[in-house]
Structures are given as structure tokens and as C-alpha cells.
Symmetry: C2
Subunit: 355 residues, 2 copies
């Protein structure tokens, strides 16, 4: 299996690098490109991106008209909600934390359990999830958006005869999401040769990060394993067992083993507590941590990962250094002009759900 | 009483104008200035406006961390939520529709019942309203925002020793809100001499608007009566009885008399069913209409107003013309770049309310 090969190769590589002092040309990291992979069946166009942005901010995509994509994937912040449990329509709470939408375009698989193969599919699932946007079916979504003349015109322009459907709605959303890239973090600038872009402590932290083998999983452009086309194709998963070493104190304290992970979705017992490796970009601002959000601080998250995944007890100095490094992964957030939403004429925003 | 004087003068004036054909130099309308009145105790500064914008988009101002000002006063749309009843924290519903925040800076009084004398006070009320943002007291608001280091720095810069308090928070919010002005509507351009800026039908509609005496209340810069400094000072109210002529079919159908209006707030029986005159700017996109949102379309709203306020039955032609005119009041919405919100470190976004 390709994945296993790259994983082993990288483990060896990082190990060699760590012992010899870091040769920066050898490490399995790469600056974040401004352009993520674009699927052939959904090419980017300016008009489609603009439409997707409107839909992203439009609460009419939820059954109650109260929740837009941005309600949980807050683009004014870390692309998520900084909560242990997301709050969807009717105050319903999800069981797993919101993953950031920033740089999500670099994942080969989506959601904590890899249950969505594309950004398009992820959007469809969340629109139709009773605990998220609560739309009962594709038809209801289609009718809601088709009831807005401004959108009708735009979908005609962008999608021609395909018009408005859950399929085209999520294509537009995904196109916008593929613009949500935070390039030029201090670490990216450091990788590009700007040696003073990160502090001495952060550099030590980076060496520890490799030494301790965090980089075995958190590598490449998104610090989350292969991006589409590198070893894995879109839709293939890069999963890890978590907790890897069972029965630690942390596991009990933070209920890390309570959720069966990908098994719940795949119904394949070998997927028990398998999780998609999440990105570490902008991790500084996406507390709380892990699938259940039980860990509130980044230093504790580092400690927990070292212990449960790598059986390592880190010193406070090591933790501080690694945290200093992780903070250099906060990128530049592109300025996003709030879109103008087309009006719903002849009735209230969400007929039947607003009185 | 000053108000009565101007009201009578305008009624006479509009009546004269209507019979003689319109002399545009005489009419009680005025293009919307880009700069609204600024209170002496809260001067505008760029830093304060930027801070207010962050707060406006920050859901941490609500007890649950789910609702920002923008959740109901949606700046991607008409500055409100297009609902009959706003949905606040815990899914709690308000009893009166959200008023638009666009151009609110031109009102002498705020809320449907005039229960807030300033934008600052309006913000305070809604932050502390159990059905809106649900904060229990000023102290909780202060602590929530003071727990965010990024805000601490900004408040120090903007407010110096006054620091973070509900008072300074709402000052910043109001400063941002005073930038939410939609100038240069087709009607404004028409008033400025661009005679072709509105259609022939809209011009007829404007004459009808004066003829039917809609303009007796909906006049001046905001089509909502005096702005601060013109006849009324900030905090003084411009109210009207609604329904003015009781027991119409409309009153029953749309439950127009069920809410006792300002009486509920003032506990003064003479305020029964007295309401602040709302602005007509951008009215095209702020359906549904009236305090209870029972009327869903603009043409029906025009019919209802003519009948209940002025005892007039309008022809379909009159209604269509007036609606055509009202649509010329939709202004240009300034581009708003989404702010970046400072992170909450060392804990989740809203400790105690997100698990």
C-alpha cells in the first residue's frame, strides 16, 4: 500500500534528519501553495467562487434560516467555532468538534472519520445533517435556493442547464472553500529561506517535533499527511489510531477512547478509533483540541499526543518549544469582503420556519 | 411641542406640493448624508470603529457564544433577519421583528417602542436581553471580553483607563454602526438632480406617496421623521399610533392591534399602540413588514398602511407605483471586510457554555 510506503520512508527520513541535525532540504514539509488541487469535474471560475461565497454566508441553507456554513466554520476566526461541540439548528449539539475549513482543500479526505471524500460531499452531508443545518432532503435545499431569483440568475450563468441542485450548490461552496488558504505563515517563510522568520525557541521546537516523531503523521503542506496527488488520491484516507497506546491517565481524563472513530461510519471493526490526521496549520487558534474538544490548551494537547501516540513524557521545556513551533504555523488570512445576499421576495426568508 | 409643529408644517407643505405638482426644492426629503450625527461623548476614530466591527461579528458577546450582532442584523443582507420573529440564544424567539441596523444612526430613538435613546443603549439592551444575546449582567459581558487578550490591548488603545466595560463595548459597537450608511440610492441621485435615476412609474409613485400622505410620517433623510438635531434631539421620540383607524379587516387578519406598543415599555396608557416610525430605506429587502412581521410583501404593506393609517383604499396602480418608488430607496451597501477576531487562549470560546 502506497500510504504505508511513504509513512515508513518519512519515519526513517525524519529519524535520520533528527540525529544528524536538520537538513532542511530533506524534510517532509513544504510551504503551503496558494492554489490547492482542483478536481477536474469542478473547475474554479470567479463567478462560481463568488456564488459559493454567498451560499457560505447564507443562513437560508439551514432549515431554520438561522445557520450558515460560517456559523460553525467562522472565517473571522480559525474557520471553526472554538467549541467542544458544535451547535446546529434548534440548538442541537454535535458530538465531534468542528474541523477548520481553512486549508481543508489540501485534505484527501474530510471529517474526523473520513466519511466525506470531497469538500463537495462534506458540504452535502452537513447541509442534510439533522444536527447541523437540518435540511431534510436534497429537494428541500433545491427549492429553498431556487425560490431566490438572484440565485437563479447566478446559477444559470455559472452552471447553465444544470441549474440549481444540491449538487451544484455544493460545487459552488467547495469552489469558494478552495480559496480559503492561509499562506505565508512564519514557518512557511522560514522554509522559504527566511531564517529569522521564526524564533530560536520555535526552531528548537521544530527539531523536537521531528525528534519526538510528531512529524510521522503531521507532515507535508498541511501538516496532516499527503495532499491529493501526493501518495494518496482525493478520497483516499490518511488515518491513525488514537489513542495509539491505550489506558493512559490522559485517556481516562479526556475520554479519548469513548468515541469509536471511523468504525462508527465504516462499520468495519478494524477502523475502531481510527481518525483522520488533522492539520496543524493555525492550530494556535483552533482550541479546544481533539475530536471531542476535551483538551482546552495547546500545551496540554502536545503532552497528550506525545504520551498516547508515541509513549513519550515530554519535559515542560520540550512542550514549550513545540508549542512555540506550532504557533509559527498560523498563516495569513486573506481579506474576505462580506458578500451581498440576494433577497427572498414575496415571502419571509424561510417560509414556514420563521414564525 | 416642537414635533407637533414640524408635523403640521410638513403635512401642509406636502399637501400644497401635491396639488400644485411637485416643487422638488420644497419637499421634506433629503439625500442621505454619508456622515450621520456623532454624539459628543463618543467621537469616531478608526481604531474604535475597527474594534466595534470585531465586536459586531463576535458570537462571544452572547452567553452561548452562538449569536453575534450580525446573526440578526445581517450586514450581508438588509441589516436584519427577514423573519417575523428573531431567534436569539437557546432558540428563544422575540415577539417583535428585528429592525435594520443600516442607517439606524439617523434615528432619534431606537427599537420599535423607542425604549433605547441611543445606539449605545440599544446594544446594551440586546446584549442583556434573555431572548437576544442572553448575557445575565454587565459584569459577565465585561469578564467575557476581558478574557480575550487581543481585545484587552485594543480597548487600552481606544479607551485608555476606561478599559473594558459594557459601556465601552457598546460605545465601540455604536461607532461601527454609525458607519453603516447606504448612500446614493436611485432616489438620492434623483433628488440630487439626476432626473433619469428613477423610472417614470417611480416618479408617479413618489407623487402618490406624498398625495396619499405617507410622507406625513415617512420624511426627511431616513424616511422616518426628524433625524437628531432636526426638530428632535437624540433620545426624543417620533411616534405614531398604529393602527390609526381601528377595526379594519387588515387589523384582524394581521393581528396589528395585539401588541400594545410603547405602552408596554413606558407603562403610560397614552402610549398604547404608539410605535416609532420606521425607516423606509432599503425597505424592498427587509420583509416581512411591521412590528409583528405578519405582512410578507411590500405591496400588501403599502395597502395596509394606506387603509389603517390614512383610511385610503388604493388602486392596484397606486400600489404598484408606490412600490416602484419605494424600491428606489435601496442604497449602495459599503463593502465590509470580515474582521479577524482575537482568539480566546487557554480555554474554549465561552467557558461553561460550550460543552
Amino acid at each position: 500500500m502506497k500510504l504505508r510506503h511513504i509513512f515508513v520512508a518519512l519515519t526513517l527520513m525524519t529519524s535520520t534528519v533528527a540525529h544528524a541535525g536538520i537538513d532542511y532540504t530533506m524534510i517532509p514539509f513544504k510551504t503551503l501553495p496558494a492554489q490547492p488541487p482542483i478536481p477536474q469535474d469542478n473547475p474554479q471560475t470567479d463567478a462560481k467562487i463568488a456564488l459559493g461565497k454567498q451560499l457560505f454566508f447564507d443562513p437560508r441553507l439551514s432549515i431554520t434560516g438561522t445557520h450558515s456554513c460560517n456559523s460553525c466554520h467562522n472565517l473571522a476566526a480559525g474557520g471553526e467555532d472554538n467549541r467542544a461541540q458544535p451547535v446546529g439548528v434548534y440548538g442541537r449539539k454535535g458530538t465531534r468538534g468542528t474541523l477548520t475549513i481553512w486549508n481543508a482543500a489540501y485534505h484527501t479526505i474530510h471529517n474526523w472519520d473520513g466519511s466525506a471524500k470531497t469538500l463537495e460531499q462534506q458540504a452535502q452531508q452537513h447541509i442534510l445533517d439533522a444536527k447541523v443545518m437540518g435540511m431534510p432532503d436534497a429537494n428541500t435545499v433545491q427549492e429553498r435556493i431556487a425560490g431566490i431569483p438572484g440565485y437563479q440568475q447566478q446559477f444559470n450563468t455559472v452552471f447553465g442547464e444544470a441549474g440549481i441542485s444540491l449538487n451544484t450548490i455544493t460545487k459552488a461552496l467547495a469552489s469558494f472553500e478552495r480559496t480559503l488558504i492561509t499562506t505565508n505563515s512564519p514557518f512557511d517563510r522560514f522554509l522559504s529561506g527566511e531564517r529569522m522568520a521564526i524564533s530560536k525557541q520555535a526552531k528548537r521546537g521544530f527539531e523536537e517535533f521531528i525528534n519526538v516523531r510528531c512529524a510521522s503523521c503531521h507532515f507535508w503542506v498541511n501538516f496532516a499527511g499527503p495532499h491529493p496527488g501526493l501518495a494518496l488520491q482525493q478520497g483516499e484516507g490518511f488515518y491513525e489510531l488514537f489513542p495509539n497506546y491505550p489506558n493512559t491517565d490522559y485517556e481516562k481524563r479526556y475520554k479519548l477512547a469513548d468515541d469509536i472513530g471511523r468504525y462508527y461510519y465504516s462499520q468495519d471493526k478494524t477502523d475502531t478509533r481510527m481518525w483522520r490526521v488533522p492539520s496543524l496549520r493555525n492550530v494556535e487558534i483552533t482550541a479546544p483540541y481533539f475530536h471531542n474538544g476535551t483538551v482546552k490548551t495547546l500545551d496540554e494537547a502536545v503532552r497528550v499526543m506525545a504520551k498516547t501516540q508515541l509513549r513519550r513524557d515530554l519535559s515542560q521545556q520540550q512542550v514549550d518549544d513545540i508549542v512555540a513551533f506550532l504557533k509559527t504555523l498560523t498563516g495569513e488570512f486573506p481579506e474576505i469582503a462580506l458578500p451581498r445576499l440576494p433577497a427572498t421576495p414575496k415571502r419571509t426568508a424561510v417560509a414556514g420556519h420563521d414564525e
